[in-house]
């Protein structure tokens, strides 16, 4: 059920991020969501894209360091308290969130949250049991 996230290592140097986005553009891949973690030395660009294999291949060809990780994608009602309800579930059930980021879809008028946890399966089971809508790879491609 989980979705795949592309993570790219980006050294803290001029032009690194542009190299990453250029490669994805050349691959003809659409970026659905993106988040950048930064430290003093380097950044990690995390991406949800519509065609992960093509993006990965192009990035590799451009000598970018890429890893693919499973993350949980959640559709959240675009209303006050929509996100709070999901996060509360994690907190009450002892599931630690490493990081998360959100995006909205113009066509579907929905908000989505990408969550990185150690055990995707456990998190997804919990969410499904509590009636939360998850998104999968196909949904990402169609957004």
């Amino acid at each position: 059920m989980s979705i795949k996230q592309l993570s790219v290592f980006a050294e803290n140097k001029e032009g690194t991020l542009a190299d990453v986005t250029d490669a994805i553009a050349q691959a003809g891949v659409d970026i659905r969501a993106m988040s950048l973690a930064d430290t003093q030395d380097f950044g990690i660009v995390r991406l949800i894209v519509d065609d992960i294999e093509s993006a990965k291949q192009k990035l590799n060809e451009n000598n970018c360091f890429v890893s693919v990780t499973e993350v949980v994608g959640v559709a959240v009602n675009d209303e006050p308290g929509g996100l709070a309800r999901v996060i509360r579930l994690f907190a009450d059930n002892g599931i630690n969130i490493d990081y998360m980021y959100a995006f909205i879809s113009v066509s579907k008028k929905n908000a989505y949250v990408v969550l990185r946890v150690d055990d995707c399966k456990a998190a997804e089971d919990l969410l499904v049991k509590n009636g939360v809508t998850l998104i999968n790879e196909d949904d990402v491609a169609k957004l």
Partner: protein
């Protein structure tokens, strides 16, 4: 595997070696005194005359030469014969400071090439081998030395010189190179490139490698042996004394036999200049007893190592020197601690990183800083900042355990540290721009 190029010399009983060295030394001191004004002045200043040198036991009385002397005497000050008797000039690679030039007569070249031939034969080379030389050719002694040695052995010699790794690999595979001669960092780079191109270690025809001209660790040897599927032999030398082949490794791989029929080795205390007993760690000093054109007496190499004369399973009787722990001018003093790049390299390899790194030393707020940039491997990359930071911290801790000082480790992208096809630039000491004397 007892492979000798000049067995009679290489297995000569120790007493005989010493007797021969004594006789050659007495003659050489007289020759140098008569022909090299620079050294004659040094001897006169010290109050030593050629008559005072009756054998090896008097060697310590002679003045020592340093690289500074060679620079001062540049270009002809230490030349012992007429230029018309010389056939070649080589020059140091300029790892440290100004270049130094050395001169050779044909006899000097022959002796040097024979030393390299001994190294090639000790590594299993015969006239059936294809010897792939990718040390630089030109002023640097690496290429010409091994090239000459390879000819003497009768190997089919591939004078590749350095650079153009794609062509190196194509020829290596197409022409079935069996012995590879280059710097260890370039050997590692070739191994890495072969793997990237999808070659397995068994896809090449190499059986041995002869690697020198820079300091390398046992861990790096292990990596190169694995990636190329070969046995990796160390070779040592310096232009001032002749070039590669002053000493070389045998099948035992426990140190390099010094060609004692041509060179006398001593270990001294680098601070006091006092000669230390065999087995002590100190600075290596060479006296060249056969050279005609550029015969240096008691030349301080600045290489720190140990000499041992145990019976060797290969049958050679020549004294063995340990792998230099680093040239004393590679040594950095950081926060008062002596640090060799090779120590940091050993930690990296031990922690599972490739030996692709750069050390940057600087001074910030009057305190030395040590930054180590290390290339990551695919397996080291994580999408979580926490994991990456943990890796950096754990590597910092391992380096601190080795050196006693705290470095800052930076994991960087693969291939982002510039690769050299000759010697690797491992250290950038920014304190030098501040004019701080180290």
């Amino acid at each position: 595997m007892n492979n000798f190029y000049q067995k009679e010399m290489e297995t000569m009983p120790v007493e005989q070696i010493k007797k021969m060295q004594s006789e050659k030394l007495v003659k050489q001191v007289r020759y140098v005194y008569d022909n090299v004004e620079y050294y004659r002045n040094l001897m006169d200043e010290k109050g030593v005359s050629p008559e005072d040198i009756k054998g090896l036991e008097d060697l310590h009385k002679l003045p020592m030469l340093t690289k500074d002397d060679l620079r001062e005497a540049y270009p002809y000050g230490l030349l012992a014969t007429d230029l018309k008797n010389c056939v070649r000039i080589q020059s140091t690679s300029g790892t440290t400071g100004k270049r130094v030039v050395a001169f050779y007569t044909q006899k000097d070249i022959d002796m040097w090439e024979e030393c390299c031939a001994r190294a090639i034969v000790a590594a299993g080379g015969t006239n059936e081998d294809v010897c792939h030389v990718c040390y630089g050719y030109g002023l640097f002694t690496g290429g010409p030395g091994l090239n000459g040695g390879s000819h003497k052995v009768g190997c089919l010699t591939l004078p590749m010189s350095s650079g153009n790794t794609d062509r190196q690999i194509q020829f290596m595979i197409d022409l079935k190179s069996t012995i590879l001669c280059c710097t260890p960092s370039y050997a590692a780079y070739i191994g890495e490139t072969l793997r990237e191109k999808g070659y397995k270690p068994e896809d090449n025809f190499l059986k041995a490698g002869i690697f020198g001209a820079e300091a390398w660790t046992e861990e790096m040897r292990h990596d190169i042996e694995k990636s190329l599927g070969i046995k990796a032999y160390d070779i040592y030398g310096l232009t001032e004394i002749s070039g590669p082949g002053v000493s070389f490794e045998c099948s035992e791989q426990t140190g390099m036999h010094i060609n004692e029929d041509h060179f006398i080795a001593e270990i001294i205390d680098p601070d006091t200049g006092e000669v230390l007993p065999e087995g002590s760690k100190g600075e290596l000093v060479f006296t060249s007893i056969d050279k005609e054109a550029f015969p240096l007496l008691r030349y301080r190499t600045r290489d720190i190592c140990v000499l041992t004369r145990n019976k060797c399973s290969c049958g050679r009787t020549f004294v063995k020197m340990s792998k230099p722990m680093g040239r004393s001018d590679d040594m950095m003093i950081i926060r008062g601690v002596n640090v060799f790049p090779s120590q940091i390299e050993a930690v990296l390899l031990n922690e599972g990183y490739a030996p692709n790194y750069q050390i940057v030393v600087d001074r910030v707020n009057n305190s030395d800083t040590l930054d180590v940039y290390v290339e990551m491997d695919e397996k080291d990359f994580s999408d979580k900042v926490k994991d990456m930071t943990k890796k950096e911290k754990s590597l910092s801790a391992a380096i601190k355990a080795m050196l006693g000082i705290n470095p800052t480790v930076h994991l960087v992208a693969p291939k982002s540290i510039q690769r050299s096809e000759g010697k690797a630039v491992r250290v950038i000491d920014k304190r030098k721009r501040l004019g701080i004397n180290m």
